[in-house]
Symmetry: C2
Subunit: 354 residues, 2 copies
DNA sequence: CTGTTAGCGCTTTCAT
DNA sequence: ATGAAAGCGCTAACAG
């Protein structure tokens, strides 16, 4: 799989060569780059001139990292489908938050490519980074053990909680209970549109009671919250339809919602797990000639731009802030868990509560 | 600015320690990790056991990079506002394209944080990467010289063309001529909504003739194409209003378009430089009670999702493919220029041409 | 299949 | 203000 040859076009110029050309010791040349004030102006100029003449690109970053014991780079693990990470606007916000902190601290940000295959572990191990941030994953993701094995500071976003790593997350269960209450209020046949339950991303339409094990903790907690909301609204979990989608995607959500809405017992409330999904549900409702919220109430999650456009009741949280918090924690060598704020945004996609 | 201490929690375990504990030479231990088949099963097991017992996290990536002369990481320079990069959907597509190729090749992808300040150069120099990809920037961006100084293979996306670095871009001038022709057909007072002209991102409303120097080559070429289109449609460049926005942003475009449409001589055709901008223009037109395209024709650029939704005539190109092409070129050590395909998508936001 | 030698390019002591 | 020595942790190159 290796691609690039180690060889460069022209041979590499070293600090030693620059020092020799400038007629100074290697250390003086080094100081010129690292502690310019410990070197006299004249000497510094000599070194810099020699460097320019030889085309010296500056101290080699790898050699520096080895010697210093730090790479000044943060690793971000985005999960199986790297391309997918960039298609998910919330994931992108999260990255933006990390990027902001990295920029502030003069750190680089390395996206560690994982594929879901066995070699993910080595991709983690091979990453030249000072610490890791792991985007929400499943309890059984081997990436977690690999990150921990590096002994570098690490934060997980969303979940799962891992011993030795900090966790940044909202209280998904409480938030789901709250938005679920808004969705299911006055509904007779509540339904849930769920993210995948495990990394295999199997799709299914089932009931709350018949769900298999949920390995993504974020999804699990939201389902628990929805369950509590449904029960509080008077519907048993076994009577709640749960449609599990493979991705966080409006188009898929629209297809699934269409199936639900055109079934024998169509739901009159659908709680989704993202605003993208909810927007697909709204499309499906329109196409099926159902009014929102009178025929079917809809809720989203994240308070993305589309939520405001469509008047979606949703859970607001700032992935950007959470990304920044993860980065701060790792950079500050203090990877401890912290709970992030969320709030319920009531709009017009749910029935009015008295 | 430095943040993390080089020190780790527990002291670092080295390959030499593992080798000693396993009762083999360092090289045998090294082979166990790098050429497992060159080592007998028994020996390999011994080494791995010792490694596990000592908590050895695997070969240190920095030391490896130094020794191998390769970091197996690609650097991506996204320009002054890193956060902004993640807010621009086209930039995100571009990143996704790069990420895909990196994943395929087992490479990491480092986002090099630049701020527009003087220390950008050292951020480039310090990046431990095998090559660079630079997102569209201005002719005078010092980042370009810094990247070239590293002597590593590099590709520029969009522009400018830099000696020794390859360029991936569409023919922006020709595309602007084509979409401009669609926009300005049958129009008496054409206008252009432009991206910033220089890195200072100054906003202004002026005419084609009064534009100051345009330092972003992509913007410059598009303006030239629009000029040709306007002249072909019978309007002199000095009679074309050019509104320069600070960012690629629907809200700002809407404000600017509102100003134009409510002025004494409102334009009857507006060619924008992105679909985001064009969507803002459409909003402004609606708010001002103008019909699209009858009162005002509108064109976008990129063929994003919103273009299809709004029926925008636009230029289609794949930033994702272009990102992938940049990555392939750098990884393949063949950073040569290549022209990317584009096409005109005619929809309902422009007047019908006979 | 395993080991020895050498050194990647740099910077942290510790002198002077 | 400058320099000499030492070695960060690892692997290519060559034995045996």
């Amino acid at each position: 799989m290796g691609t690039m040859e180690p060889s460069r076009g022209s041979k590499r110029v070293t600090l030693a060569q620059v020092a020799e050309a400038a007629g100074v010791s290697v250390m003086t040349a080094s100081y010129t780059y690292n502690r310019p004030n410990r070197v006299s102006d004249r000497t510094r100029a000599k070194v810099l001139t020699a460097a320019t003449r030889l085309g010296y690109p500056g101290p080699d970053p790898s050699a520096r990292s080895l010697r210093r014991g730090s790479t000044r780079t943060l690793g971000v693990v985005m999960g199986e489908h790297l391309g997918y990470a960039f298609d998910d606007p919330e994931a992108v916000s999260f990255l933006a938050g990390i990027a902001g902190i990295c920029t502030e601290h003069g750190y680089g940000m390395t996206i560690v490519p994982t594929t879901g295959a066995a070699d993910d572990v080595s991709r983690i191990t091979d990453a030249a980074v000072d610490g890791f941030i792991v985007w929400t994953t499943s309890d059984d993701d081997p990436v977690l053990a690999a990150v921990r094995a590096t002994k570098r500071p690490a934060m997980v976003h969303g979940g799962p909680a891992v011993d030795g790593m900090g966790l940044v997350s909202i209280d998904n269960r409480a938030a789901a209970r709250a938005v679920g209450a808004a969705a299911f209020s006055g509904a007779a046949r509540p339904a849930v549109l769920s993210f995948p339950l495990a990394r295999d991303r199997t799709t299914m339409i089932t009931t709350g009671e018949d769900l298999p094990d949920v390995l993504f903790p974020v999804t699990r907690e939201r389902l628990e919250g929805y369950r509590e909301a449904a029960e509080a609204a008077g519907t048993a979990w076994q009577d709640v339809t749960v449609a599990v989608c493979a991705r966080n995607d409006a188009a898929e959500a629209e297809r699934v919602a269409t199936a639900l809405l055109t079934s024998a017992e169509p739901p009159d409330a659908i709680a989704a797990m993202s605003d993208q999904q909810a927007s697909g549900v709204v499309q499906a409702a329109r196409a099926a000639g159902r009014a929102v919220p009178d025929d079917v109430a809809v809720t989203g999650w994240d308070d993305a731009a589309v939520a405001a456009q469509l008047g979606l009741t949703t859970v607001a949280q700032s992935l950007r802030t959470q990304g920044a918090a993860c980065a701060e924690a790792v950079l500050g060598q203090h990877p401890v868990s912290q709970s992030a704020p969320w709030s319920l945004i009531r709009r017009t996609s749910t029935r009015h509560t008295t």
